[in-house]
Symmetry: C2
Subunit: 485 residues, 2 copies
């Protein structure tokens, strides 16, 4: 498929579509559902309108949904799974700094606060150069789309024009996105070259960014603004209060960071002596809402978890970042048990990878590092996340986290088609793979299926060795936004 | 380049070669050396015979080595770095079970002992089917070569014909390898369907495997046998003693596992009540030699580390495996401080990835998980491994570990050319990459270089987001054994 340049918006694809083959999605946190011989009908607005499942054959499933929809075969676009392929819900990246994309992998031995000053603020500040911002944001959106990220919850920068550009690019390239202009006005932490000069300026710029998105995407069907106080230590109390007022006025989502690093937590306690905890800082300022995504929550206490749960706020788990910056190991099971919904975040460039599949993989490994510190027993066992749980976090968990649980995350009638077509390579009898050999083509990826694996084993192989090469096609709201040969 | 079928041995390339451009390798554990405008002359035996470095230009460097060697431009094969490319030493995988390759990523929530019984023994046993073994081993050798693994230290299986086949395939496909027939004769641990029936049988089969390699590769120039007691709990005391006798007689390397898992350590203490520790079991049986590679060493005590160091034995660090199977976090810095040389192992399929670059990445992350448990201070800081240290482990450390430190691991006169050509993609001004766009080609990999990065930053990006797509060409002993477009 031709991938158009960001500057030329793609034509919509108003045709109804039929997807045929195997569909896999989370049935619950602990279970994946494998739906074979299935057909999914998607209308020209990108909404799933009919499903036939577990039919006698793919053809029978196709006939079934054509009957259900009254469509004829000729007026629909048909996409059928090839050998070893399946449809999977699109990934949801619940925490990612688009503006830091060029720094992925560059963090040295730093931890949060010195990492911000050394690597992060200078890069973010430089994106007032809109040519540079276009280069960085285009690369980021295209790269995450190629990894199957159909929804991304972005931090942009302080700068309004660059933030608006990110929103434009997401709309044009077709990625569902929450785009946040970063609020940071506290002079103790934010450098003179990169901050809002006052709470008032922070709020005015925030409203400018909201107005832009309203204009380019009325109703926020694909792109939504998100209120983005960088994190408590970067914001004045007045800025936080003002954002809360905008939140109530506009009913917008909120994103911020929480309890990522112990020094950060100490700093918050110093800066907000009247609040009982880091979580209470946000709650005291009216920002702990059911539409709030809190990134990290590594060192959250029992009392804080209870408060987050009571308020219905969500957590974005960012294992790649938390390991890279030596922040700690967030306790996913522990947060779940306290009633908190969780999604995954790449947190580029604290996290090194653009891939939510990598985040899911690292979520399982990080849970095992947590388990290593425990005595043998039920708690140690339950701390480890399974393949199924990691992929739940990447899809339905993420959808819940960003408030789109009713629209995204699985294949059900009424949901929108945000999905990917996954293909795994089959090893032939000679040990080579189809298309591999004398022509040197090796780009079927790293997952080698030998043919005797169960579907559960294939999914495990994909989780642990899969990459963007396995993501053959990506749809957002029914529109094909990425494809590879 | 045409990649030939495993059944058709490749033609050797007896022509001298000139490599031109940028060369990067470890100068020490803590430092990478960046050699620009350089030329490396490799004779038709695959040995580096002249180097010109930091010249005024690549052409000047080329002229310099032609003068040094007396070669004319016409009788050599020239390989020049393209834009953004550099030469790097080949990776050394110091611990990998070729026979488990089809199980990568499949481990559920298991830990070592139940993982062996559930997933591992049945697969290994099934490779007496030589057609299946050929399929599995071909895929494994080709996949690891494509990731830049120029030397692999393999466990095969108990079966002699299948082990011999692995040796044949490594020779034919051009991968330098240590190939070990697995000795396991202890009935308490080894299932009836998969074991040596007696110590005598274990030793006879071991000698058969050695004889085969002697025949196909006299002098062990590319393929060497390696004595492979699976691990102490799988072997009888008599088998261990017999292997020690063969070791002294043939002066062969040894590989085994040590202190991977706490239950395993308890089991060893029960089975070998007369030995003071797990390490002492090997020492008491004469197997703790300077040519011994001990995989894992996660829970090794101070006293055991001292003994390993005294004997000059080496450790293979397998972070992917140790995290996946919840085994623990091996202390690389701690082992180094005790004078032990360390390499990296993928440990497929306890480890999920065929890539030593992934092992290096996980080595840095695992070291950070270790550091998370420490109080702030110098020890916490030093526990974290740097990019440079991880890449040392992957190359020079690995070479030391397998006893080839004088032959491999860097670009020096007298060393053999086991190397890879690495290419990183440059993001263009429009946010796309060369070759990417309307034709849908996205296979330049995941490393996006924006152009302003230092060389150190490019290497960090490669470590954290690189994969086999960045490994453009691979040479072993001067022979081109893998290439991609």
């Amino acid at each position: 498929m031709a991938l158009t340049n960001a500057s030329e918006p793609k034509k919509p694809q108003p045709q109804p579509q039929l997807l045929l083959g195997t569909f896999i999605h989370s049935k619950s946190r602990t279970e994946l559902e494998y739906i074979h011989n299935a057909a999914v009908a998607v209308d020209d607005g990108g909404v799933i309108v009919a499903i036939a499942r577990d039919s006698e054959s793919v053809d029978a499933a196709k006939d079934d949904v054509l009957r259900q929809t009254g469509w004829t075969g000729s007026d629909v676009n048909v996409v059928a799974c090839g050998e070893g392929q399946f449809f999977f819900p699109g990934f949801i990246d619940t925490h990612v700094h688009a503006s830091q994309y060029p720094n992925v992998g560059i963090f040295g031995k730093s931890t949060l606060l010195d990492w911000l000053a050394t690597y992060t603020f200078p890069l973010e500040a430089s994106l007032t150069d809109l040519a540079k911002a276009r280069k960085v944001y285009t690369a980021c959106v295209r790269r995450t789309l190629s990894h199957g990220t159909t929804t991304a919850t972005y931090y942009a920068t302080v700068d309004v024009p660059a933030t608006n550009l990110l929103a434009d690019l997401c709309l044009s390239l077709g990625q569902r996105a929450f785009v946040g202009r970063v609020c940071m006005d506290r002079k103790e932490l934010c450098p003179p070259y990169y901050r809002d000069e006052s709470p008032e300026e922070a709020l005015v710029r925030t409203r400018e960014s909201i107005a832009h998105i309203k204009q380019i995407n009325p109703g926020y069907e694909l792109i939504s603004p998100i209120l983005t106080p960088r994190f408590a230590p970067a914001c004045s109390s007045d800025a936080l209060k003002g954002l809360s007022a905008i939140q109530r006025e506009e009913d917008l989502p909120v994103q911020t960071h929480i309890s990522e690093n112990k020094n950060e937590i100490r700093l918050v306690a110093e800066l907000y002596p009247d609040s009982a905890s880091y979580t209470h800082v946000y709650d005291d300022h009216g920002l702990l809402t059911p539409k709030t995504v809190l990134a990290h929550a590594v060192h959250t206490t029992e009392e804080e978890a209870r408060l987050i749960s009571q308020r219905g706020s969500k957590v974005s788990h960012c294992p790649c970042s938390n390991s890279s910056l030596t922040s700690g190991e967030a306790r996913v099971r522990w947060l779940w048990e306290r009633g908190i919904e969780i999604g995954l975040g790449t947190d580029m460039s604290g996290g090194y990878s653009p891939s939510i599949l990598e985040a899911a993989r690292q979520a399982t490994l990080t849970s095992r590092h947590l388990a290593m510190q425990m005595e043998e027993g039920a708690l140690k066992e339950s701390t480890k996340l399974t393949v199924e749980e990691a992929l739940y976090l990447a899809t339905r968990g993420g959808a819940q986290c960003v408030g789109l649980g009713d629209k995204l995350g699985g294949f059900e009638v009424g949901k929108q088609l945000d999905a990917q077509l996954i293909g795994l390579a089959l090893v032939q009898e000679d040990g080579l793979r189809a298309g591999e050999g004398d022509d040197g083509v090796m780009d079927a990826g790293n997952v080698d299926v030998f043919g005797w694996e169960t579907w559960e084993e294939r999914i495990a192989k994909w989780l642990y060795n899969g990459d963007d090469r396995n993501t053959k096609k990506v749809w957002v709201k029914g529109r094909l936004v990425h494809a590879r040969p």
